[in-house]
């Protein structure tokens, strides 16, 4: 047996383990009798743990080097390891948060767990993609799982409608992306992203070829914008967030953002950095529109899930500030800091989003959906600790120190200012002021109003613990942001 082949492919081991683990969970679930599905749940968590250990191991062995596997289809670098690790953590948290909620609604079936694991597999493939092919495969694997999860509650017309919308628009987005990629393939003659970069560097000097490339680029950016959910490709976000069961909204609002960020980096930075002057302008428009529409539309929402959906749009617009500040007049000096800022923003956003949606799941109970603003009324009187955790999450989303969200804003604004985009930074902070209003409104409801009902909040102890850790992590990162920032910086530097 040839061991070197085996050893060379170790960087793809987490994907293999996850694939096998997901299949095992699917089969084992047939034998699980209990309603709580402890067996399947534990298998899933175990698989995630194994993946995490493997990823840590791979990272510790590889350090900052980039490894190409499967003839350049797959890449393993520090960024992929960090993002994968973040994805495991967020999926694992999502499993804990959603368990009781789904149980109460009779939706905690094996399918949920298996689909979640396969979606994660898709995300990991996206994160490690070094070819248009793998990237598209990963994207479709993730998307198909998510479509199905949105429709998990098949008796609910809202869920079904949301799933339908998600599917149709998602398919359109995939189509756009595929079309753009095929154009770039036509111009460069290769599907491998690192080779595309070399070809683009050669071709972008010729105006004719450049036009061809930019034509493809427009579609690629549109496809990415769909996946990130930025204006004007955001229409699916509010409806899907609103219509899906909250547990699934939590899933959609967390880890997929990491993978969407990853493919944006892979395509635009790894592949098309020589066209930065073009795509930065597109991102600029997307960013400003998202911050404006997201923040303003969120004010008008009375449904929490819809409000958080618009808030996602605004946050993704903010994240783009980092991505569009990398290259200044052909100078690449700013790029590591700028992309690291965007990555830091994405990771922090995922953590905040998990905290906020996790709280909604925690406050929901059998026969009661916590999804309207009124449902948070007087939370401080009912349970000061969870009100405090939600307070941290809200101030973090608003970007008020000393919470993690502030440093996320600080780093992307810093990138924009050092790229000379001072007016853009001013526009961004003005919209973040608008945004502060609706986060404050939630704090107001929790702290200043009297509760509608004073029933104590039930909940599983593992979930209580995790929610507390999640909230305190936002505060801890707010006090000591250096480690996570340095990690993002190091992983972007290794690109």
């Amino acid at each position: 047996m040839n061991w070197t082949v085996f050893v060379n492919h170790i960087p793809a081991a987490p994907e293999v383990v996850l694939l096998v683990g997901a299949c095992v969970a699917m089969i084992a679930d047939l034998r699980v009798k209990s309603e709580r599905r402890t067996g399947t749940f534990l298998i899933a968590q175990g698989v995630l743990l194994a993946c995490a250990v493997l990823t840590l191991f791979i990272q510790s062995v590889n350090g900052t080097s980039r490894l190409y596997l499967f003839n350049g289809l797959f890449v393993s670098d520090a960024m992929s390891n960090v993002l994968k690790f973040a994805a495991y953590v967020s999926v694992s948290m999502a499993l804990v948060y959603s368990r009781q909620y789904l149980l109460d609604r009779g939706l905690f079936k094996g399918e949920f767990i298996t689909l979640l694991l396969f979606a994660l597999l898709g995300m990991m493939v996206m994160i490690s993609a070094n070819s248009f092919l793998t990237l598209y495969l990963g994207l479709e694997l993730m998307s198909l799982c998510l479509y199905a999860m949105v429709a998990l509650n098949r008796d609910s017309s809202a869920s079904t409608e949301a799933a339908m919308k998600y599917f149709v628009l998602g398919a359109l987005a995939s189509g756009l992306l595929l079309y753009g990629m095929s154009m770039i393939y036509g111009a460069t003659g290769t599907l491998t992203i690192s080779d595309v970069a070399k070809q683009v560097a050669r071709l972008s000097g010729h105006s004719g070829d450049r036009t061809f490339l930019v034509f493809g680029l427009v579609f690629v950016v549109a496809g990415l914008a769909f996946k990130l959910g930025v204006v004007p490709f955001h229409m699916w976000i509010p409806d899907v967030y609103h219509g899906a069961p909250t547990a699934v909204t939590l899933v959609i609002g967390s880890a997929p953002k990491l993978s969407a960020f990853a493919i944006t980096i892979r395509l635009l930075v790894n592949g098309l950095l020589d066209l930065a002057a073009d795509w930065q302008q597109m991102l600029l428009v997307l960013s400003v529109l998202s911050m404006a529409l997201g923040n303003i539309a969120a004010i008008a929402q009375s449904n929490l899930k819809r409000m958080l959906a618009y808030s996602t749009i605004a946050h993704m617009g903010f994240m783009l500030l980092g991505l569009l500040s990398g290259v200044v007049a052909g100078n690449w000096l700013n790029k590591d800091e700028a992309y690291a800022a965007a990555m830091f923003y994405t990771v922090i956003y995922v953590l905040m989003s998990l905290g906020a949606f996790g709280m909604l799941l925690y406050l929901s109970s059998k026969g009661f959906e916590c999804e309207n603003l009124e449902d948070l009324k007087g939370l401080n009187r009912r349970n000061p600790w969870y009100a405090f955790l939600m307070l941290i999450a809200m101030f973090s989303l608003a970007g008020v120190p000393p919470t993690a969200g502030f440093y996320a804003k600080l780093s992307v604004l810093g990138a924009a200012v050092s790229a000379g985009q001072i007016w853009l930074a001013v526009v961004a902070v003005i919209f973040s002021l608008v945004g502060a209003y609706y986060y404050l409104r939630i704090v107001k409801l929790m702290y200043f109003d009297d509760p509608k009902d004073a029933t104590p909040i039930a909940g599983q102890s593992d979930m209580r613990l995790l929610l507390s850790v999640n909230g305190l992590a936002l505060l801890a990162i707010g006090i000591l942001p250096q480690p996570l920032m340095a990690l993002c910086f190091a992983s972007i530097k290794s690109l």
Partner: protein, 494 residues
């Protein structure tokens, strides 16, 4: 003076630690224990700031008690603390005011006592952080973080219109400070990657950039001061906040804006400051004269004192922008003196409000007949508020008017009208509330100050008289730093 004990860190983290401790003690059934714990925290917090005063080297203009440690290396951000003659007194003032707030809220606050006390202690630590931060990011973090406890304080324990007031307070100040954030990031870029405020003091900047930055910072600080025309949040916030909230707002939070001018705007942007001084003096005079007139027509005591605060803070900014030692030191003295006087005035209104549940002047009359001790003390504070000699209010106003006189007679003339308006609105209010026949049965049933209230108001009275009769210890502390600042501001750095 080198020291091994991190005094400034203690001044920041001791109150915060106690605040978190109080928060953690649970619900209202433990209220007595929470009160005592909070008092212990406030007193310990004050005690750790006393060595700052006793160990301070008044001859040096340099930063003292400096602490420096890397914090966010990626952005070259440091945990950099230090105080000079300008900022040191505010730490003491703040820690002292915190004690009075804890005592003043002892029985008045009945629901969620732990959260109330905890919020004030945390706020106190954060404010100490603002006054001692020498790193711009650290400063910004503390500056912004103070909004959270204050928002909660106004919103939970405030009056009927508290939600509106709390949101207005938060959004107004947040608006100012986010623009400051952009300005700070711009300075970070210009200085080649440093967030150190002291490095920025030496940074040469073209006039155009200075002026842009001036307006970026102006909004943040002007909202906080508050200067006309961005003052409208203050009367609302003061009126709706609980007594303790009004006290800390008037005594300390308003000083953050003025402190920002003197720590950031003047030394970092001296040329812009000089070229735009007319603008700042104009706004300050509007605050002094126009807001003085507005205060005259108020029917709500808290609103009246709130407007009086704006007028007094106008004096502070006026003093800063005439660029001489009298003006700047006068402004600083005025800030500290106003910290005592406004705190005392709001506590006085609190005393009445706790008994009558009304802040309307028209509901009172003849209070002196039933509360003689209270009337005596309030007389002192009212006199101090209009700048009577031998009270602290006189020293600052006199020095600022002197400074303004050196700069321009008519500016000094306009500023001096405050002595008339100040006396008019304060004493007229005092007359209507205190003197005359007993207005109604509620007033007849009033009881005079209890021991706790007497302690709080008495200690403030001592402070007001001390500063008024013998201000030298206070001015001595400032002297070296103010002269250094003025020397620095006089040099162009274009």
């Amino acid at each position: 003076m080198p020291t091994t004990v991190p005094l400034l860190s203690l001044a920041i983290w001791v109150p915060i630690a106690f605040g978190l401790g109080v928060l953690a003690t649970g619900g209202d059934k433990d209220a007595p224990a929470q009160r005592w714990l909070a008092l212990t925290g406030a007193i310990t917090g004050f005690l750790v700031t006393i060595p700052l005063w006793t160990g301070f080297d008044t001859r040096s203009a340099a930063m003292q008690f400096v602490e420096l440690a890397p914090w966010i290396e990626l952005f070259n951000v440091h945990y950099h603390l230090g105080v000079d003659g300008i900022s040191m007194l505010f730490l003491l003032l703040n820690s002292f005011i915190t004690i009075t707030i804890v005592i003043a809220g002892w029985t008045v606050i009945e629901s969620r006592v732990g959260q109330y006390m905890g919020a004030f202690l945390i706020l106190s630590g954060l404010l100490n952080g603002v006054f001692s931060a020498l790193d711009a990011v650290l400063f910004y973090v503390f500056f912004e973080a103070t909004l959270i406890p204050m928002f909660i304080i106004i919103g939970i324990w405030g009056g009927p219109n508290r939600v509106y007031a709390a949101l207005k307070f938060f959004l107004y100040t947040f608006f100012g400070s986010v623009l400051m954030l952009v300005a700070l990031l711009y300075l970070y870029g210009k200085s080649g990657g440093s967030f150190s405020i002291l490095d920025w003091h030496k940074l040469p900047l073209p006039l155009h950039a200075q002026q842009l930055l001036f307006f970026g910072l102006l909004l943040a600080f002007a909202v906080k001061v508050p200067m006309w025309p961005v003052h409208t949040w203050l009367p609302d916030a003061h009126t709706e906040a609980p007594t303790g909230g009004s006290v800390v707002l008037a005594a300390i939070l308003l000083k953050l804006g003025a402190y920002g001018f003197i720590r950031f705007t003047l030394p970092i942007l001296p040329d812009a400051s000089r070229s735009l001084a007319w603008f700042m003096i104009g706004l300050s005079l509007i605050a002094v004269v126009y807001i003085g007139l507005v205060a005259l027509v108020q029917t709500d005591m808290k609103k009246l004192i709130a407007y009086s605060s704006i007028a007094h803070m106008g004096f502070v900014t006026l003093g800063f922008f005439v660029f001489n030692a009298y003006g700047v030191e006068g402004g600083l003295i005025q800030m500290i003196s106003h910290g005592f006087i406004s705190a005392a005035m709001f506590l006085c209104v609190g005393v009445l409000y706790d008994r009558m549940h009304s802040r309307m002047i028209s509901d009172y009359g003849g209070v002196v007949n039933t509360m003689p001790k209270f009337a005596t003390l309030m007389m002192l504070f009212a006199m101090a508020n209009c700048g009577l000699p031998a009270t602290s209010g006189f020293v600052g106003e006199f020095m600022v008017i002197m400074g303004a006189m050196k700069a321009n007679f008519w500016v000094a003339f306009a500023a001096a009208t405050t002595l008339v308006f100040g006396a008019a609105y304060t004493l007229w209010m005092y007359k209507r509330v205190m003197f005359g026949a007993v207005a109604n049965d509620h007033v007849r049933g009033l009881t005079d100050l209890n021991g706790r209230e007497l302690l709080v108001l008495g200690s403030l009275a001592v402070a007001v008289l001390w500063m008024g009769i013998y201000p030298k210890p206070f001015t001595d502390v400032m002297h070296a730093s103010v002269n250094e600042l003025l020397r620095h501001v006089a040099l162009p750095k274009i």
